[in-house]
């Protein structure tokens, strides 16, 4: 599982923004047609609107468990005699289980996006700059189904190449809009403190990407 986390460690996201954690929820972020993977480069022009953040499944280990049982059951059935209807049942059974995983009474999720390299990566005095907070995201859906606490702000890296980190937390319970006090200001945000204040614990999923100010002239492709 560490291979999911290594890019975050090397990219100094774990350490500067969050603490070491074990990813337990699969989060897929995409700006339009472009899927965001750790450390990829996104142009600010592409990131003007909020991305589609899809949360899928409860735990990764649950998925693997389901998969292995699928594989083993038919093999056991083949050997003794000619295959009969018996084999069909396990298949159906496992599918049902997968559906149940998604519908599991998943705690609500809170997702936020910050820029730890504001205003400049060599001089991050305003670390971190908050871009977006959505809470009460039901599991298995996407961020549009949640309540927006801090509206999405586009990317405006003034100097250097900035990292933008999307962190997903699991809420213990559904947060009422009033009690989740929105941060007063966008700069000088602290993810750890925020998580501590709202008892969110360690994150369950983190993704980060890079972006830099588009030079007016040439286009750079990563």
């Amino acid at each position: 599982m560490s291979r999911f986390v290594d890019p975050l460690v090397v990219g100094r996201v774990i350490g500067e923004v969050v603490d070491l954690f074990v990813p337990s929820v699969a989060m897929a972020v995409s700006y339009g047609a472009k899927d965001v993977s750790n450390g990829c480069h996104v142009k600010p022009s592409m990131a003007a609107d909020q991305p589609l953040v899809r949360i899928s499944g409860r735990r990764n280990d649950l998925y693997t468990l389901v998969r292995t049982t699928w594989v083993h059951a038919p093999v056991a059935g083949w050997l003794p005699r000619s295959p009969r209807v018996v084999l069909l049942y396990p298949l159906v059974h496992i599918h049902a289980w997968e559906l149940a995983a998604d519908d599991f009474p998943l705690a609500w999720c809170l997702q936020l996006m910050t820029d730890p390299d504001a205003p400049s990566p060599s001089d991050p005095t305003m670390r971190e700059y908050l871009h977006w907070i959505v809470m009460n995201i039901p599991g298995g859906t996407d961020a549009t189904k949640g309540d927006v606490v801090v509206p999405y702000m586009g990317l405006q890296p003034p100097v250097g190449i900035h990292r933008y980190v999307l962190v997903l937390f699991e809420q213990k319970s559904r947060l009422v809009d009033g009690c989740a006090s929105p941060p007063a200001d966008r700069p000088y945000f602290n993810t750890r403190a925020f998580a501590f204040n709202h008892e969110l614990g360690l994150p369950v999923a983190v993704v980060y990407f890079n972006s830099q100010r588009e030079p007016s002239g040439n286009r750079r492709r990563r």
């Binding site: 290594d6 990829c40 594989v71 295959p83 084999l87």
Partner: protein
């Protein structure tokens, strides 16, 4: 180490090499600040030279600074001499030079590529050019002191590729601060290749041993030139640190991206394999299901199939069954 663009060098090129100046001219250029070269240490002499050089560069680049002595840049041991020379004063070196030359009048100083060097052997220190003096001091000292660096031997073969070699040797030895000097040296190379090669080699070897030497001298220089010296030095150092950090960050970024890509590739490969396995199994199941159903359907009527002649009706029915089953869509979900 990087050179600070071509601006310093370009400025110096316009200025001409400072080494062509004689001691007297150099003295006057410093505005009498270098009052007593005779009793000055070799180190101090070098400092003055570089100071003037740097101030020339800056003066050329920034016309506001008219006086050379306003902006003297210190060299923090970036270019130093072997121990034997640095502690000696200029006078002593000069005397040695004269003595050496007197002892072996017929011996042309080995690394002198310029035939006119011997003709320039003036009796007075003041009339001798800096270049000449330094050459002799550096080279001659090497011979006498028996230093490990074989400067004379190297200087001649290195003479042709002047600029590159000097630039690289400068870069090798230069510390943070010596960028201006390096640039200046590189430009001065065409006229004083031997000098700089000598210094380059020397500094490469003796840098560590001589780094503490310049420090006592700093205060003297500072008192003379004012607080701006530190600022420029500090600015340069800060810039270099920032650049290093930025380079490190860039490497980190690249590494993180590559790790992420590798992880994704591994994940996708796994996925692919599983899906392919699944597909194979699905096809198998479909096939088996069809066979099953056929068997099921035809089981009770298998006997009738054999009795062809008498049972035309059931035969047709079996055929219909078979046809039906074959076209029956199999749903395995």
């Amino acid at each position: 180490m990087e050179m600070p663009g071509g601006s310093g060098g370009a400025a110096l090129a316009r200025q001409g090499s400072i080494y062509s100046l004689t001691f007297d001219q150099f003295q006057t250029a410093l505005g009498g600040a270098g009052k007593d070269f005779g009793s000055m240490n070799m180190d101090e002499l070098l400092r003055n030279i570089w100071t003037a050089e740097e101030s020339n560069a800056i003066a050329a680049a920034a016309p506001a600074a008219a006086q050379p002595q306003q902006q003297a840049i210190l060299r923090q041991g970036s270019m130093t001499l072997p121990r034997t020379i640095s502690q000696m004063t200029v006078d002593e070196v000069w005397r040695d030079l004269m003595g050496f030359c007197d002892e072996e009048p017929a011996d042309p100083l080995p690394p002198q590529p310029q035939p006119q060097a011997q003709a320039q052997r003036q009796p007075t220190l003041g009339a001798m050019t800096l270049e000449e003096f330094l050459v002799r001091a550096g080279v001659v000292r090497e011979d006498m002191g028996g230093q490990t660096v074989v400067v004379p031997a190297r200087a001649q073969p290195l003479f042709p590729p002047q600029g590159n070699v000097v630039a690289t040797t400068m870069q090798m030895g230069n510390g943070v601060v010596g960028q201006g000097a390096g640039g200046g040296m590189a430009v001065a190379a065409p006229t004083t290749p031997v000098v700089l090669n000598g210094f380059g080699k020397m500094e490469g070897d003796d840098l560590s041993s001589l780094s503490p030497v310049p420090y006592p001298f700093d205060t003297a220089m500072r008192a003379r030139k004012g607080p701006t010296v530190e600022k420029v030095v500090e600015r340069r150092q800060r810039r270099m640190i920032k650049n290093r950090e930025s380079a490190a960050r860039s490497r980190q970024r690249k590494q993180a991206y590559i790790m992420e890509l590798e992880a994704e590739v591994a994940k996708l490969k796994e996925n692919n394999e599983e899906l392919q396995e699944k597909q194979v199994e699905m096809l198998q199941k479909q096939k088996n299901e069809v066979i099953e159903r056929i068997e099921q359907q035809l089981g009770p009527k298998a006997k009738r199939f054999c009795l062809r002649r008498t049972l035309t009706g059931p035969c047709r029915a079996a055929a219909v069954y078979v046809v039906e089953l074959r076209h029956h869509p199999v749903i395995v979900q």
